[in-house]
Structure formats: structure tokens, C-alpha cells
Symmetry: C3
Subunit: 494 residues, 3 copies
């Protein structure tokens, strides 16, 4: 047991070594929260036999012989969605400087861990309790659910657990969108607290309204029922994009981003290949994100969704690349990547409802939304979004929700946009946008404010100037003594 | 609307600011083409209700209860094929110098975007119109199809659209093979024009002959019917490899590649890990490429195909690694990677027709084809193929087509090679090779010549010497002011 | 044929140019072995029609209409498992220095090639011959099988070949675990010989005992039958981790790792992003590793397995990150990544048998096992495990096997752990651990000793100090003349 010795001793040391009274209290609070969660999970949940009704899924299989292909489809596409985390990490890392790489990769990796634990503990129950989608998870109303905490209770069966997985990877995606916008100056401790809040509370409650059988999904206007967001232009991307905007605004701009007259400077990233790699991986993951959102391979619309997703992405990329070329004479691949991503974000809501030609248009038209949002964020709001997350996710998500109301052709789930001569769906989409902005705007503002006043949001000026890697993490991303750089030095001497 | 302001104004500026009359005309032509395509797609296609017959696939499902598993299989393997784009990007990027990274990543990302839009607009219709594979896409003959442009028309249903997706990712693969061969000196504008041509015209018309029910697929000789190229050793790899050879020849060698006496120099790449990463990703994608080409999981031959693919890849890698070790005493991983890839290219045509022991042999024997092709390209033809794309894809593809005629054991689709005592298939394969070389050789020569005389193929001497990144793209791949390098500098001073 | 000329001539040169008599004999032995294997595979196997009984799987499909979805599931998850090779490569590469990158990437790529050829030739037959899982592969007993060599024989059908693929990627995973532990000083030739031995002999024979119907799978104690290792905490991870420990011990520590007083130094890696990227990719692959091990999508327990896998991984990451933060005040992402991986290793055996709350606990408790094993390896045994492979794979795997006997809740395959009041399973798990340690400990010690005495294990002092890349491979990973570094140099001058 001696090997376990060093595990217990430092805890008390740590508890008593806060640099201030506030810090000491935060440490105590953190430890108590963690232990309470563990104890709760262990002792309260142990007696409840999870999966009691149909532990192996044999009954489910008997009732639904197509469940294997649908579950395989949903899980595999869910794996692809999860893999987008790596795409976000590459993309953002490429767009920021070397001195903050350790910090950025830590945030990118740990945010989904923490957001998903929040979603496990609270989020799923808030989002799907009482949704009538899952027998047994009955408690809840049109605004919030409250059954199914901690993936426990006899109501869970193999289908519910599959659904939990798919929903969780979406929550984790929303969470990680913020990392890039607040990069290079937000403290890691504050950022990880944010990740818990969005995964446990902010994302799921809005999600409840539209995907969990809540009020936005049942609202009727002018013959249309329910705002539609097939795979989450709003639920995932606008939520993440708006949280990013608020976070970036509250943490303030990086040192050197804005001049005294308010004009912005371009702070170059450190690794252009990373940007393209990230976009490739995100695109790959989107093939899970959109087609997987049928939750069933028996819904053969999946082929249309895959093709629409692809076409919107490439249309956005081509339009943004040539658009920039027209303006600057340079083939700016960062513009191409952002155009691709904004096209993908935009097609996410309408992907199932529109014909392929509309997907090309939606992707192409997403580019002006990208440009306009970027201009507003940087020049009007004077917010420093370090990687351009807000234009891609908020701007593109907004256009995506609108596009459902414009281009839906009525061939799927009877959703009809302006091109069929119906206007009701577009009104529903506008209400959805308003509700999203109000909820996320209010809650994320409060959340970031509370974090700012307790744990703190912003690294010190010294830390920011030196880069966050060594002060916060104790590890440089690319230690200088490596032969790459020794090689450089030798070259220099020679 | 002010935010959209900067979108309209620069277009006219750009139109009138060509550096020459020719340049101005190219700009006008480009803009008109783009707008014409958008208008055509929008106004002509809007009235046509896509998917009118069976929009959700419900009828397809009733007719074919196995469609879900087959569609899930085809889409997921298609996603893996698409992901090979990232493998090609890494592989080529690793083998070339830092100063051309932005250029190379731009080409790698944008080529599939543009090639696939070409395939969307024209390629699929040319390749599968009249193929009788898709009811409703009836116009076409043995040499070229002409129905199904722009994924529009009432004939499309969920199955056709699935097929479009799978075919499109193959076309995009053929297109990107060329990027490496012409790297470090071909202009980005010329390269992207090439990508459109191969995706819209060159690839699909040859593809029609063998995969679209065309003349090569119906030809009979000595009891055998139809040349066989299961997953595209010829259609994808030889087409891409030959286009690469022609492109590299027409753009000319990089400055410094060949000495005055014609002997070649080895221009080292900038990042060996990238080479191995690219190979890993390509190998991963090949598990989609070959097994997915059944287009059905109900064809249980998929397990044999996966195993054959794997064995040929590892056999090629091991033989090439030890082969180089025997010659040089060094374990050259670039040789190992190229050996792996040439083994994979070679097994692509025969993967479904041969037993596993033959897959090992095919992978091993691909290595001499690699070595021989590399020698011919560099020493006989004096062509500068910057990343060795021609030996891998053309050399390996050639051997793969031949291998069908040698090792097919008659257990699948009744394809019989020499080992069964039949020679007819081998003759068909030789005719296929001849047709491919003639078509691709002729059309790509014309295409690159036209691009050379209009847009231009080759960057200027100054651009090439400084690297293409700043002159063509305005962005260095690894901006020098980043702390990585500042760190190096500091180390140096210390 | 002239192009093939350089292929034959250097072989004789090489054969006669050994630097010593021993070296010359090794060269001869290598060549003869390779040629014997090729000849054996070709001439002995050609007459045997592989897949003679049911070559296309049509009969299999008739007997089992669910085979398509199960085969698609098994193959696709197998592809994900294979992709973990890239994760291991990134992870280890990030944790070691630049001067050994070419060497490390070569090992990472070639080890799976060689191990899988060993598994093809011998391993699968030793592991599954006589297991009664496959009709026709009848020869074998409780300790070792002997039918099915070289994937040949009429017994193979599409199902067996699918199984071969899935088993092969697991064998390849075990093999590559060792690369990191012995990095920066083990000779490439010796390492590749090891890879063959583990894939052909060591892994399959232990695997036989537990997965191939061998004695550990039939042993009964106190009402429980058969040790359980669902996806390989033991078979893959402890085997790989113990081989890593033995390899690292026998090759000795890196120069500079230990001070004269035996205290260890921390040798920093060269690229922190690589570490996180590797962890992301490994996590992604684990979604194949564990859920795929049902070998069937009709076993709907796959959703529970996916969720358990995920939860254990994130719980491990969060506990390790905050645990380190408590001790050091730094957010150490390397600790977070190792915590994630050890959680994933630990859940691998119990993933199918435990409820989600237990998965969280298993992941969390894996972290103390990680810390304890790391302490023992470095401080007690004084072994230099360059990337921490032993704590993650051996420590985590040990805990995973034990956790089956503790947390299995009896809902799946009737496996019951302590929480159901039964102790028999835990005893079986302990016996399994003992058997594994005895077998792998003995055989790998002999194997590494034999390699040491013949090919040699350790690079020379000069090679180690300069880095293995140029002496062993002739290629630097990041050639210094690239503009990145030229840029650095210029910055320095400016």
C-alpha cells in the first residue's frame, strides 16, 4: 500500500495551501462537490439495478427486429460526431499562437470530459425527462425534465442508453465551440467550470424545448407545427456560438488585438496545416452529425442527408475561397475552411428537408452570413473571437434555422418552407431563434459572470504575455531543447 | 444590410483590376461561369421536385428490407473513402518543403471540393446516364451518358443518391492524387481548373466504360466477359496516376531537381511524421474503398475483401522496407509507406476475386512495379514527380489490373484468372489498360495544355524560389514569429 | 526488364557484406526465412481452394439473415481498432524527443505490419485451432491450437475470415504498446523481430486460454465458470504492458534517465499536441475495441458497452487532471490523457458486465493504479518506460480484470461480481492474472534475451546520443534546411 501513500497525504496539504481565503474555500468546495457526486452516484445508485427490465436487449430485439441496424448506425455515427472534438482542437490550435498550445489542447480535451459528466449527472434528465420519448423517464414538463439523472433508474434500457450516447456527443460539441473564441487569455479553471455549466444546464434546457418534446416542438402557427432543427444548427451551433460570443466579450480581448482607435489587428496563428486538418476532421464528423440524426438506418432519407451535407460544405468552401480571391487576389485557405464549416453548420438544420440543389445554395449563401457576422463581431461589437467561432457557428446556425423555413420542400415530415408557398414554418423558426438567443444569452451571461467573480475568467497580464502554457500547465507545447530547434540553432551557426 | 456592403462593391473592382487584358477576361469568364451555374441550378431545377417518386425511401424499404444495412454500409464506407483526402494531404505535405505548405494544403482541400462540384454538375450524368443501373437515368450509350445532371430530375431516389455519394468520393480521390506530383511549382488557379476537368469529364467518361455499363464492361474474349476493376486500381488510381504524370511533365521539374547532366537530386520533405500519418489514414480509408465497393453488406464477401486489402498493404510495406534495408542498410520508412500504398493500390482491382494468399503475393509483387515505375519516371522520362504519386498509383494500378487476370480464382462473379487455367480475363484487362492510357493520356494532355495557355500552369521563378505560400496565398504555413521559433532563437542565444 | 535490374544484383552484395560473421549469418537467415515463407504460402497453399465451401457467403446468409448487420458492425469496429495504431504513434511520438522521431514512426508503422503477418502465418491457428468456435479448424487442445495456418484450408468461410480480421487488429494493438516503452534506444531490427514473436506466438497462446476456448475459459470455481475479459484488459493491454516492462528492463534505461543515486530525471517529449491527438484517436478507436467485441450488432448490449467505455475514459481523465492539480497547482494534460487511457484500459474487461455508475467508478479508481504502477516501475524497479506505457496498460489492465470480479452485476452472460454477493468470479480473475503474468513474463523474457544475443537490442551509445534517426534510418524527421527553421534562423539574425 506504500505506493498509494502519496495519494492521500497531498490532499490535506493542498486544501490548506490556498494563496488566499477565497482560494482555500474554492478548493474545499471543489473537493466536497466531487466527493458528494461520487458518494451520491455510488451509494444511492448501487441498489437500483440499472437495465433491470431488459438488460441484454433481448426483448427490445423481439419487439423491433430492425434495432440492430439502427443501433449500429446511431452508435457509429455518434462515434464520428465525438471525433469532431479532435477537429475543433486542430482547427483552433492552428489559429492561435504556440505559446498557448498546451492550454488550448488541455481545454479541448477536458471540456468534453467535463461537459459530458455534467450531461450524465443532470443534462440528460433535464433534456429528456417527461419527453414521452422514453417510457419510464416520466417526470418533466414543456420547459424542463427531471427524471433520469446519472443514467440510473430502472427505466433505462438499451435503447435509452443508445440515445443518451448520441445526445451526449452533441452536448459535448456545443461545449467545445467556445474554446477557440476565448483562447489565449481565459483561465483553464474558469473555462472548465463553464464546460460543466453548459453541459449540465444551458444546453439541455434549451434542447428540451425543441428536441425533448418541449414547447418549441409543439407550437403551431399558420398550419405549421413545431420549429425544426434537424441536427442542431440551433441546438448545437447557435448555442455554442452564442456562448462563445458572450464568453469572449466577458473575458475581454487579447492584449494587442485592438488598437486605441478600436481597429482590430490580425494575430496570426502558428500552424496553417492544423487549420486544414481540423476542417477535414470536422467535415468527416459531420457525416455522423447530420445523417446520424435520423437515429435509424431504416429511415432511408440518410442518403439525401449525407449528400446535402456534403454539397453545402463544398459550396461554402468554393464560394468563400473565390470570394476572397476576388477581393484580395490571394487564395486564402482559411477563408475556404471557414466557408466550408459555415456551409456545414447552415445545412445542419435543413439537411433532411431540402433537395440537393437547395443544399448547394444554402452552403453558398452561408458565406455572406459568415462575412457579415465576422464584421459585426469584430468591428461593431469589438469582441475578440480568437478563431472566428462566432461567425461560423452563430452566423451559420442562424442562417440554417432560417433556411428550413425557406427551402423545405415538404417531402419529409411534412415540413414546408417558402418555396412551397407556406410561411408558417419560417415564423416558427424565427420564434425558435428568439427563444434560443434569450435563454442562452441570459444564462451564459450569468454563468460567465459568476465564474468571473469566483474562480476568475482571465489570466494575469504576465501569464498572457508569456503564454498560458507554463504558468497554468507547467509544460511547453514544443520544448525548445528538442533537436528540431537545436537543428535550427546549428543551422544558424553554420 | 450595411454588413453585407463589402460583399458587392469589390466584385466590380476585381473585375476591372486584372493585371492584363487576358487576366481581365479570365476573371469575367470565371464570374460568368459561376453565376451561370448558380442560375441554372436554381431556376431550372427549382420546379423539378427532386425525389418526387419516393422521397423518404419508404417504397424502397418495402421492396428491399435489406436496404438499411446496405445503405448504412455504403454510406459509412463512403465516409472512410472521403477521409482518405486527409491522408493524401498529410502524405504529400510531409514529402515537400515548408515553404509550399499553405499552397499544398489549399490544393488538397479545395481539389475535392471543386472536383466533386464538377461531378455533381456533369460527371455523374456522363458516367451513369443510360447505364441501366438506375431506372429513369435512361439517356446514354456505351461511351457516355447524358442524364442526371446536377442531381436533379424525378428519377433520383434514395438509392440513386446513395450511389451518387459513393461514386463522388471515388472521383474526388482520383482528382487529389495529382496534387503531390505537381507540388511546389504548379499555380493554384491552374490546379483548381484541372480538378474541375478531371471530376466533370475525364474520370467519369472512362468510368462509364467500365463501371457505368459501357463497352469495356460488356466486351467478351475467350469465354470471359468484361474487364474487371473491383474498386478502382484502374478507374481511380491509374487515372489519377497518369494525370499526375502528364501534369508533372507539362509543368516541368522543380528548380534544382535535375542536374545539367540529367541526373536527379533528392529534394527532402519537411516532416517525416506527416508521411507516416498520411499512410495510416490512407490505409484506414482503404477499408472503406475496397470492402465498400460491394455497395451492400448483404454481399458477405466483404470480410474477404477487408482481409485481402489488409494483407496486400502489410506485405507491400514489409517487402519494401526490407528490400531497401538490403540495398542501403537503412530502414527507410518512406519506402515502407510507399510499399504499403502500392500494395493497397494493387489489391484494389482484384480484392474481391482472389484468395488471401494471393493478396499477400499481389502486395509483395507490387513493390518491384513501384521501383520500376519510379526508375522510369525519374531516370528515363526525366519527370519530376515530387511525392512519388506516379509509381504508387500508376505502377500499382497497372499491376492490380493485371493481377485480376492472373489470380482470380473463379469463386466470385465467375471471374477467372490464369491460375484457373483461363487466359481471357487477362486479355480483357490488357485492353482495359490500353483504353485507359489512351483516353486519359489524350484528354489530360489537352486539358493541361489548354490550362497552360489560358490560366497558366507554372508559378514564376521568384515565386517558386521563395515558396508559393506568400505570393499565392498571403499566408505562411508556420509564421516565424511564433514562440516555437522564438524559443529556438532564445536557445541559440543562451 | 532493365528497370528490374537493380532488384536482383544488390541482394548478393548485401548477403556478402555483413560487418561480421554473425551479421552475415543473420542476413542469410532473414532472407531464407522470408523466401521459405513465400514459397510455403505460394506452392503449398495454391492448390487448396480457399473458401471452397461457401465462397460468396450465400449459404451463410441463408442460415443467418442477420449476418450482414453483424458483419458490417464487426468490420467497421475492427477498422476503428486498427486506427488506434495511429493513436499510439502520435502519443508516443509526442512524449519522446525529435531526434528519435523517424525511428519511432518506423516502429509504430512496421510493428503492426509484421505482427499481423505473424498472426496470419501462425497466431490465428495457435489461438483458435480446436476452439470449436469455427467448424473445420478442429486441431488443438486447451492450451494451444494448430489448425488454420496462413488463412488457408477449406474450413475458412466468410465468417471465419471476418473473425480473423477482428482478432488480428487486436493482436496488432498488443504488439504496438511496447514501442513507446523501449523508445529512443532499442534498435529497429531487434524491435521488429520482437513484433513478429508477440504476434505469432506470445499473444495468441495466452489468447487461446481465455478467448480460444482454452483452460481459463472453462475453469470453474465457487459457482462461477471461466475468467472473463470482455474486450481485452488482460489479453491485449496487460500482455502488451508486461511485454513493454520486460523490453524496457532488458534494453536498459536511456542515457541520462537515472542519476547515480538512482533518482529519475524527466526527459521531456517534443510535441505536446501529438500527445493529446494520440489520446483522441485512441479514445475514438476504443469505440470499436469494446462495443465491437460483441462481434454482433444483434447483441444490443453494444449501447451499454459504448456508454460504459465513454464514462470510464472521461472519469479517468477528470480524476487524473484534478488529482495532479491538487498536488502541483498545474493542470497537467499529460496526466489527463494518461488518466483517460487508464480508465479506458480498465473498462475494457468489464465494459459489458457492469452498470454505467460502476463504469465511472472503475475509470476513477484506475487513476490510483496508474500512479502506483508508475511509482513502482520508476522508483522501485528503476525501469525506464519512456512514455508511461506500463502504468497505463499493465496497471489499468490489472485493475480492469479485477473490476469484473467486483462490479459485474449479473445482467449479462450471468457474470457476477462481489456487488452481487458472489466471490467466485474474482478468484477466477486472479487466476487469470497469475497465468498471464507467468506466461508473458517467461516467454517475453526469453524472446528479448534471444534477440539481444542475436540481432541485438540496444543501439550504440553514439547512435543514442545523436538520435537513432540518421544512423538507423538515414532520414531526419524534420530536416533542418526547411524554411520553418530557416525562418527561425532569420528571426534570430534580425
Amino acid at each position: 500500500m506504500k505506493a498509494f501513500g502519496p495519494i492521500i497525504e497531498p490532499i490535506s496539504t493542498w486544501l490548506n495551501s490556498g494563496s488566499s481565503r477565497r482560494d482555500a474555500w474554492i478548493r474545499r468546495g471543489l473537493l466536497i462537490t466531487l466527493m458528494a457526486m461520487l458518494l451520491f452516484a455510488t451509494f444511492w445508485l448501487v441498489p437500483a439495478r440499472v437495465l433491470a427490465a431488459d438488460p441484454t436487449g433481448a426483448d427490445t430485439l423481439k419487439d423491433n427486429p430492425n434495432m440492430p441496424v439502427n443501433m449500429a448506425w446511431t452508435l457509429i455515427t455518434g462515434f464520428l460526431v465525438w471525433f469532431m472534438q479532435l477537429g475543433f482542437a486542430f482547427l483552433g490550435a492552428g489559429l492561435i499562437r504556440s505559446k498557448n498550445q498546451t492550454n488550448y489542447w488541455t481545454k479541448s480535451f477536458m471540456d468534453f470530459c467535463i461537459a459530458s459528466l455534467g450531461f450524465w449527472a443532470f443534462g440528460f434528465a433535464l433534456m429528456f425527462g417527461g419527453s414521452k420519448l422514453f417510457p419510464g423517464l416520466d417526470d418533466g414538463n414543456s420547459f424542463v425534465g427531471f427524471s433520469g439523472f446519472f443514467l440510473s433508474g430502472s427505466a433505462y434500457d438499451v435503447s435509452t442508453i443508445m440515445m443518451w450516447f448520441f445526445q451526449m456527443v452533441f452536448a459535448a460539441t456545443a461545449a467545445t465551440i467556445v474554446a477557440g473564441a476565448v483562447a489565449e487569455r481565459m483561465k483553464i479553471t474558469g473555462y472548465l467550470a463553464y464546460a460543466f455549466v453548459i453541459g449540465a444546464l444551458v444546453y439541455p434546457i434549451y434542447g428540451k424545448w425543441i428536441w425533448g418534446g418541449g414547447w418549441l416542438s409543439t407550437l403551431s402557427i399558420a398550419g405549421a407545427t413545431g420549429a425544426r432543427d434537424f441536427a442542431g444548427s440551433g441546438v448545437v451551433h447557435m448555442v455554442g456560438g452564442l456562448a462563445a460570443l458572450i464568453g469572449a466579450a466577458m473575458v475581454g480581448p487579447r492584449i494587442g488585438k485592438f488598437n486605441k482607435d478600436g481597429s482590430p489587428n490580425n494575430i496570426k496563428g502558428h500552424n496553417l496545416p492544423f487549420v486544414v486538418i481540423g476542417t477535414f476532421i470536422l467535415f468527416f464528423g459531420w457525416f455522423g452529425f447530420n445523417p446520424g440524426s435520423t437515429l435509424a438506418a431504416t429511415d432511408l432519407r440518410i442518403s439525401v442527408i449525407a449528400v446535402n451535407t456534403f454539397l453545402a460544405g463544398v459550396a461554402g468552401a468554393v464560394v468563400a475561397l473565390y470570394w476572397t480571391f476576388v477581393r484580395t487576389g490571394k487564395m486564402d485557405i482559411i477563408a475556404g475552411c471557414n466557408g466550408c464549416l459555415v456551409g456545414l453548420v447552415a445545412i445542419t438544420a435543413p439537411c433532411a428537408f431540402v433537395p440537393p440543389w437547395a443544399a448547394v445554395l444554402i452552403g453558398a449563401i452561408a458565406v455572406p452570413f459568415l462575412v457579415a457576422t465576422a464584421t459585426i463581431v469584430e468591428r461593431v461589437l469589438k469582441v475578440d473571437d480568437a478563431v472566428g467561432a462566432v461567425p461560423v457557428h452563430f452566423g451559420g446556425g442562424l442562417w440554417g434555422l432560417l433556411a428550413v423555413g425557406i427551402f423545405a420542400d415538404g417531402t419529409y415530415l411534412d415540413v414546408k418552407g417558402l418555396i412551397t408557398g407556406e410561411g408558417g414554418q419560417l415564423l416558427l423558426q424565427l420564434i425558435d431563434i428568439g427563444a434560443l438567443v434569450a435563454w442562452v444569452g441570459a444564462t451564459m451571461s450569468v454563468a460567465f459572470w459568476v465564474i468571473k467573480k469566483t474562480i476568475g475568467l482571465r489570466a494575469s497580464r504576465e501569464e498572457e504575455l508569456s503564454g498560458l502554457d507554463v504558468p497554468e500547465h507547467g509544460i511547453e507545447a514544443y520544448p525548445a531543447q528538442t533537436p528540431v530547434l537545436a537543428g535550427a540553432a546549428e543551422t544558424d551557426k553554420a
